[in-house]
């Protein structure tokens, strides 16, 4: 997909004015965070498991060459093939070649963010192979020619009426007067349309949530079971994954699975966790005859050991999106590429460059919520700040912001000056904002308040409150 990340400001402005989107996003903020909290509370060991999950991935990254070679050796022993690809283009070419060798007309696909990253659907279509997304959300957005707006809930931005519209347009062979008001009816229609595709597909293309070095297995996580129909029915199974998906052992994969679903949807476990190893065995009655793993670098080896190294621990759970005030106001499409939210704002400039994605690191209030909930304890705010610094140093920040930022730096570095300047402003704002506790508009700050409400400060400056002996209470993320 071509990135529109460079137009972030316009994208965000449009998103903020979109009432349908606002309604869809408000459901998200009620759902996922509360469920995550419940699931975490049900498991006393959750915080310790997060520490271990982080440590497993950090250990992997420190030994990545070793584990990649081990993984490859086990895949080959079990009868599969590993294809190393440096770039998205190499991965596309490889996948098309495997499809051609398999004589493929139809490829069923289960949701893969790497598939989105390399834009495999367009490539296959262009060369006469029909790719069919099978995850319900992905199927809907494929029909609408849209990118996903959330890494685990790709159609979260749509209402059921919009989905019904799309189905009416895309399924002209069905009775036009059929009822499509209920989500159940929409699901049944998608299910029966896709059934035929599953049974007819020549190649099944899946992602991989993890690659297990000990056994050469891939782990797949879904709730619908679409990945399982994708790999078990066609003759050829291709799995695409980036380098950092490696984990050492089945036990390590298990630890990560214990934090993944809880962080993502608030389930204790996703419905289907599947471990695929090699092609089907000689006596098996079903399963693929060929098993290929397309192992993609596409910028990961460059992140290794650098400032954004920790981002390689990400397991794509979506918790940072679900808890991000910016994501929850503008949704995923405003970020302009396949990833979004805090993880997207850190990752996208790594993958497509700061020139193209320069505004994204500013799409954050640095409130820290993302790091609080990230199961892999990735310091997202630190990395966002570091992109901002790079941007500032490269002179890519707008001139007015630059001089204001310099002035701000001057003031904050001198506590006496800061206190003199801030205290009167705080009392003035507090007096003005008494009514609703928030400002819709502030003089001289229209650029800020156009799309944001500024909460009115309460109870004086931080320093004066601290001196009065007030201390913030411990709050759980």
């Amino acid at each position: 997909m071509k990135s529109t990340a460079a137009n972030f400001e316009d994208n965000a402005e449009k998103a903020l004015a979109d009432d349908k989107l606002k309604a869809a996003l408000s459901k998200l903020s009620e759902g996922f965070p509360a469920k995550r909290r419940e699931a975490a509370d049900r498991l006393p060991e959750f915080e310790s498991l997060r520490d271990q999950a982080r440590d497993i991935k950090s250990h992997v990254l420190a030994n990545l060459d070793f584990y990649l070679e081990q993984f490859e050796a086990r895949v080959v022993e079990s009868g599969g093939t590993v294809h190393w690809c440096r770039t998205a283009a190499e991965a596309r070419t490889t996948i098309l070649r495997i499809c051609r060798n398999a004589g493929a007309k139809t490829v069923t696909k289960s949701k893969s963010m790497i598939g989105e990253e390399i834009a495999i659907n367009e490539h296959l279509e262009h060369h006469g192979v029909e790719p069919v997304e099978t995850d319900l959300g992905e199927y809907i957005i494929q029909l609408r020619h849209e990118p996903p707006s959330h890494i685990i809930a790709p159609a979260i931005h749509l209402s059921k009426e919009q989905v019904a519209d799309t189905f009416r347009k895309s399924h002209p062979h069905l009775a036009p007067e059929r009822a499509l008001e209920e989500p159940r009816a929409l699901l049944e229609e998608a299910r029966s349309e896709l059934r035929q595709k599953f049974l007819a597909a020549d190649v099944g293309l899946t992602g991989a949530n993890m690659l297990i070095a000990e056994t050469g297995s891939i782990a797949l996580v879904t709730n619908e079971g679409n990945a399982d129909l994708t790999y078990s029915l066609p003759k050829t199974h291709i799995a695409i994954a980036s380098l950092e998906k490696i984990v050492p052992t089945l036990e390590d994969a298990t630890t990560i699975l214990r934090v993944l679903a809880r962080s993502a949807t608030g389930q204790d476990m996703s419905v289907y966790n599947t471990f695929c190893t090699g092609p089907k065995r000689a006596q098996d009655l079903d399963g693929p005859e060929d098993f290929h793993i397309v192992l993609l670098d596409n910028g990961r080896s460059k992140m290794l050991g650098g400032e954004f190294h920790d981002m390689l621990r990400c397991i794509r759970c979506g918790a940072c999106l679900n808890h991000c005030p910016v994501y929850k106001s503008i949704g995923g499409h405003a970020y302009g590429w396949v990833y979004s939210g805090p993880m997207g704002a850190v990752l996208i400039p790594n993958l497509i460059g700061l020139d193209e994605a320069g505004h994204l690191p500013n799409a954050s209030t640095l409130c820290g919520k993302c790091e609080d909930v990230c199961p892999m304890r990735i310091p997202l705010p630190r990395m966002l700040r570091s992109w901002r610094t790079q941007q500032f140093e490269a002179g890519k920040t707008a001139p007015l912001s630059r001089s204001l930022l310099r002035a701000w730096a001057f003031v904050t570095a001198r506590p006496w000056l800061y206190r003199i300047m801030v205290a009167p402003a705080v009392s003035a704002l507090a007096a003005l904002g008494r009514k609703g506790g928030r400002f819709r508009r502030l003089p001289l700050a229209g650029g800020w308040t156009k799309h944001r409400d500024l909460p009115a400060p309460e109870g004086g400056t931080f320093v004066s409150r601290w001196n009065r002996g007030e201390r913030p209470g411990e709050k759980k993320p």
């Binding site: 989500p183 709730n223 129909l229």
Partner: protein, 235 residues
Amino acid sequence: MSDARSEILGAVRDAIAKSHGSAAGGPTDIHADARSRLADHAANLIPARGRLGRKARVDLFIREAERVNATVARVSSTSGVPREVARFLAKNNLPMSLKIAPETSEDTIPWTEQTLLKVEEGRADGTEHASVSHAFAGVAETGTLVVLSGPGNPTTLNFLPPTHICVVAAPEIAGDYEEVWSRLRSEKAGEETGGGFMPRTVNWITGPSRTADIEQTLLLGAHGPQRLHIVIVDE
């Protein structure tokens, strides 16, 4: 064009060597920890939740499976399975026909005693209403079934039919997933089918298929089965 594999591995090695500083390139094996991690495959922290005696473990398994919308029945021996399956199908107004995994054939389960049941062995092809497969283990921690693929247990039975019935023996219900990995390693060691102790597919199944992709409304039976019925054989 230089080879992608060596270029990627080279870049990874360089980055790692740089962060190891001068230690890299020396006589020490920088991957010693990784080697022993693979050889030991030690368990990490296991939640206390599943660490229970046998009876409490089975009870927890049932509670957790029901929590995620599976239904559960207990029978005292395999000879009770056909009657329970017939009862379940009748209660849900489902056709009395089944596609069963060869592992659960007449040799182990006396299907013919239920004369109303039409039973066929094999893999699923999308035409059947209900299937029966056999779980290698259960995991009490989350009410999860562990189902292995093999000539006697085709994977498609777990996913294509709208109703999936899965048989598991009570003694094989473990507290946690780690116990099941250990059992798999020891029971299937030395299998010469490629993949070592791992069959082509290991499926952890926790409840019936679901989606919340449309307005976050939870719906069962997305692509996989809408009903998951677990029959525990006490023996």
